[in-house]
């Protein structure tokens, strides 16, 4: 700190008379839920007020530390408390806590030994603030001209933003179909059994789960691989996803099937080449949800998409034995999906994508993300008339302010209260668009999440997510396809491609959106689906430290608003059906492909082909140790894994006797813990192992017995 330059004095009434009080009663509890855990001495923020973009707060030193205050120019706990002002929830919209990153113009001086502070925080651009700090009497203590903030979790600010696309990499044509015994479950909508039999495979048939259960009870061998055919393209997305969810849940619940793999076969549910049609939209949704199930339970599920069942027999017969999690077979040749980077568009010419005289409709246009996008469309893409849809319309907090702001940027703005999943309501809104300002584009940014592990999801929880995403998208598609040149820009999620753990319903809805964009382009309609990574200002606001850690381990990090909007600009300069604008976590990529979702394996920095090591294989280490030492090593191993999935930097302080629930483990971290323990011990562990042995000590004892 620069101690030589005095801080300018700002004498003002306190608290500012026109500022509104901010509820700080449970601030530290709320921050703790997000992974910001402050000890008692560091919970100094006592009261706060808001005036427009400015925040004011009072900080008091813990009485236990008051004696020490006199020996400091500014007690560190007090100053830390002052910075907590930046963690207060935003007045409207997004609320993603950000932490100090770059300091500029720090001045300390004037009063010293303060036990109370008054802080004023004012914005300094989008991602920085200025701070003015006085003591309880209003005498200057410190100031910071500019403090850049960013989301916690490391990495350079702005680093890692990338535009990706899904490529399908051809694999060798199978020379010999496998010979393992197969079973087929359910109705064969696609003629899969015929194709397998024609390829020389024996297929045991079980028309229903009950028939499979009866067979196993009667002594049938447990099949290594069971194939199901998804419903045909006439199927409705709810029926298809519900059927797949039943299969996944039954598969995971039946311990007899713990060593069996369930292969979902679809036809026309993915686009292998740009321009390919995806006639089976419901099948695409099944792909999304099964990808999530794969992330949660590696090795248990596989996906194979066929072009033509008749000619795919040998490739399918081979595919079910390969262990590849996802395959498409085209002209008898298998290929697998891999995300790759998209080179920047050749031209950066900013000619407007849409006729400025036309109307651009934004669903979810009054939400945090929608508002960011609306501003960008006006500022950078020449949009001059916006129709913003939100379920509450004008009654949405901040709606009037947003409209005024967009007016100020030169755009006419209409706001409509409309649920785009409500087709008649949407029809009325579209019919009211004036003929002289025809609809030229729709940005479908609405959506909700209802996350849960795939074993906990229900048809109702799928419905909650499918309706605002998939139903609305289909309505928008069908109600605008007759409008010449009207483009549909669908905001989907990379979770539909990478299979977000705990998001099978969300992944299903978003994979549906991606497929719809392919469908449109295949039939000559303009369409683009943007499979976004998490925005820190969007769905990412509610994430805790463990969630962020898990996200980063999977190679992704939350996008800042600036990154997201820049990627939007870049995506709108491309000419593709589906693009994934994401922020990559460079350190996860450097750790090699082992820890990444398979679909991201090609993004890993080359040179490393193994997952970051935890040292030698646990079994090997134990072999050289005595009984007591072995127990210690297993316990340390379990503590390290628990600490890691919870996002702790080290297992120190993790009490082995405390129950996992008390430590903050939830169903998703439990799934992750289970996955890691199984991978690193080589043991086949039931999904309930961490519930049955719910502390590090008890789980370690259990594993020790299994490993002995």
């Amino acid at each position: 700190m620069d101690e030589t330059t005095p801080v300018t004095t700002e004498t003002a009434e306190w608290p500012p008379p026109d500022a509104d009080p901010v509820d700080t009663a449970d601030l530290y509890a709320r921050l703790a839920e997000r992974g910001f855990r402050y000890g008692p001495a560091f919970r100094g923020l006592r009261a706060a007020w808001r005036r427009g973009d400015e925040l004011f707060a009072e900080i008091a030193l813990d009485p236990g530390l008051s004696g020490a205050a006199a020996s400091y120019l500014l007690h560190p706990a007090l100053f830390d408390g002052a910075l907590h002002t930046t963690l207060l929830p935003a007045a409207t919209g997004p609320d993603a806590p950000r932490v100090p990153f770059v300091w500029r113009g720090v001045r300390l001086g004037g009063a010293s030994g303060a036990r109370e502070l008054r802080v004023r925080v004012a914005p300094d651009g989008a991602n920085a603030v200025s701070l003015t700090v006085t003591d309880g009497e209003g005498r200057p203590v410190a100031s910071v001209a500019s403090l850049a903030l960013r989301a916690p979790g490391g990495g350079r600010s702005g680093a890692g933003a990338a535009l990706l696309r899904l490529d399908w990499t051809a694999l060798a044509r199978p020379s010999v179909p496998g010979t393992g015994a197969l079973a087929f479950l359910g109705t064969d909508h696609l003629g899969v059994t015929g194709a397998l039999k024609a390829a020389g495979r024996r297929v045991e048939l079980y028309p229903s789960l009950r028939a499979l259960d009866d067979g196993l009870r009667a002594g049938d061998a447990v099949p290594e691989t069971v194939v199901v055919s998804c419903t045909d393209e006439a199927a409705e997305v709810r029926a298809a996803t519900q059927r797949a969810l039943v299969l996944i849940q039954e598969w995971l619940a039946d311990e007899r099937l713990a060593g069996s793999r369930l292969v979902f076969v679809t036809q026309g549910a993915v686009a292998v080449r740009d321009g390919d049609d995806v006639p089976d939209l419901a099948g695409a949704a099944v792909w999304g949800m099964v990808r999530s199930a794969q992330s949660e339970h590696p090795g248990r599920f596989a996906l194979v998409d066929l072009d033509d069942t008749g000619s795919s027999g040998p490739a399918l017969a081979a595919a079910v034995d390969t262990g590849e999690a996802q395959l498409a077979v085209r002209d008898g040749r298998p290929s697998r999906p891999r995300l790759t980077r998209v080179p920047p568009a050749a031209t950066s010419a900013a000619s407007p994508r849409w006729d400025p005289a036309g109307t651009v409709l934004v669903t979810g246009g009054l939400g945090a993300l929608g508002a960011l996008v609306a501003r960008r469309l006006v500022r950078e893409h020449g949009v001059r008339r916006l129709l913003l849809l939100g379920r509450r319309g004008d009654a949405t907090p901040g709606a009037a302010g947003l409209a005024a702001e967009l007016n100020g940027l030169g755009a006419d703005v209409d706001i409509a209260a409309c649920d785009a999943a409500d087709r008649p309501a949407l029809e009325r809104v579209l019919a009211a668009i004036p003929a002289e300002r025809p609809l030229v584009a729709v940005v479908h940014a609405a959506g909700v999440v209802d996350d849960g592990t795939v074993t906990a999801l229900t048809p109702r929880r799928f419905e909650r997510v499918l309706r605002p995403k998939a139903d609305a998208a289909l309505n928008l598609h069908e109600l605008t396809e007759h409008l010449p040149g009207c483009e549909l820009v669908l905001f989907s999620s990379v979770s539909g491609i990478a299979g977000g753990a705990g998001q099978a319903n969300y992944a299903a809805a978003n994979a549906f959106l991606d497929a719809l964009a392919h469908r449109r382009r295949a039939t000559g309609l303009p369409g683009l689906s943007l499979a976004w990574g998490l925005w820190e200002d969007g769905m990412g606001t509610g994430l805790g430290a463990a969630d962020l850690t898990r996200l980063r381990r999977s190679g992704l990090a939350p996008l800042t608003a600036d990154q997201g909007l820049d990627l939007l600009d870049a995506a709108l300069r491309q000419d593709r059906a589906v693009l994934a604008p994401v922020r990559l976590d460079e350190s996860a990529l450097r750790a090699g492909p082992g820890a990444l979702p398979e679909v991201m394996a090609d993004l890993a920095v080359s040179g490393r082909t193994v997952r970051p090591s935890d040292g030698p294989d646990l079994r090997e280490r134990l072999a050289h140790l005595s009984g007591a030492e072995r127990e210690d090593v297993v316990l340390e191993f379990v503590r390290a894994q628990v600490a890691d999935v919870l996002g702790h930097s080290s297992p120190d302080g993790l009490d082995p006797a405390r129950e996992f629930g008390e430590l903050g483990m939830d169903s998703l971290t439990t799934v992750e813990l289970n996955r890691r323990l199984a991978a690193r011990t080589g043991l086949r562990l039931p999904a309930t192992v961490a519930f049955d042995h719910p502390s590090a000590a008890r789980l370690a004892g259990h594993l020790h017995r299994l490993l002995s």
Binding site: G186, S208, R243, V246, T458, R460
Partner: protein, 196 residues
């Protein structure tokens, strides 16, 4: 955390439905010959969830019990796991029957009473039961409550018949400080068609 339930059509209607003596008698008929009618009163509660959207409801029941003597073992002196299970069953049967009768929450709001009576014994079964006993309950008289955490309606398909799965939480306690609680999942097989 109790999940909330959506009421199809119309505004939410928080309500309390007082003990329905006739219905209770009918619901407990299968227990009569075994002399284990433990549930003595039950009030169905349909409440707004303070943490949820305004159009969603939480359904439960507040109950009283009496176990004059065990129906299967000499007096153990405390409320045991078997009795936990029996008391849960009685609360659950009543909760579903009353929900059907008052048409308070889907899917039961679409059922008629015959739909319930024909399924009560053969088609309603517990698929998962976890009970925990914090402090022994010694009294003959005690209280209980049940909350529906989630209802999942599964349609019939080629691979599985239709199914309704209800996750619940429950708790029993007495005035002597006895306390036990649990999480129970029940399935209803062969439910009436969901479109009906």
């Amino acid at each position: 955390m109790a999940e909330v339930m959506e009421r199809p059509g119309g505004a939410p209607a928080p309500a309390r439905y007082p003990d329905d003596r006739d219905l209770l008698t009918q619901v407990l008929r299968p227990y009569r010959a075994k002399r284990c009618e433990y549930l003595t009163s039950a009030e169905l509660t349909v409440e707004r969830d303070p943490a949820g959207p305004a159009d969603q409801l939480r359904v439960g029941a507040a109950c009283t019990f009496e176990i004059p003597e065990s129906c299967y073992i000499d007096d153990t002196g405390h409320f045991n796991a078997v009795e936990f299970n029996i008391c849960f069953n009685q609360m659950f049967y009543y909760l579903v029957a009353k929900a059907v009768k008052e048409r308070v929450v889907a899917p039961f709001s679409r059922w008629d009473m015959d739909d319930f009576w024909t399924r009560q014994l053969g088609e309603i079964l517990i698929t998962d039961l976890r009970s925990a006993f914090r402090t022994q309950m010694r009294g003959r008289l005690f209280q209980g409550e049940i909350q529906i955490a989630d209802v999942a309606e599964w349609d019939a398909s080629d691979i599985r018949d239709a199914l309704v799965v209800i996750r619940t939480t429950c708790r029993f306690w007495d005035e002597h400080g006895g306390d036990s609680h649990g999480e129970v999942t029940a399935a209803i097989l062969n439910p009436p068609p969901s479109g009906g």
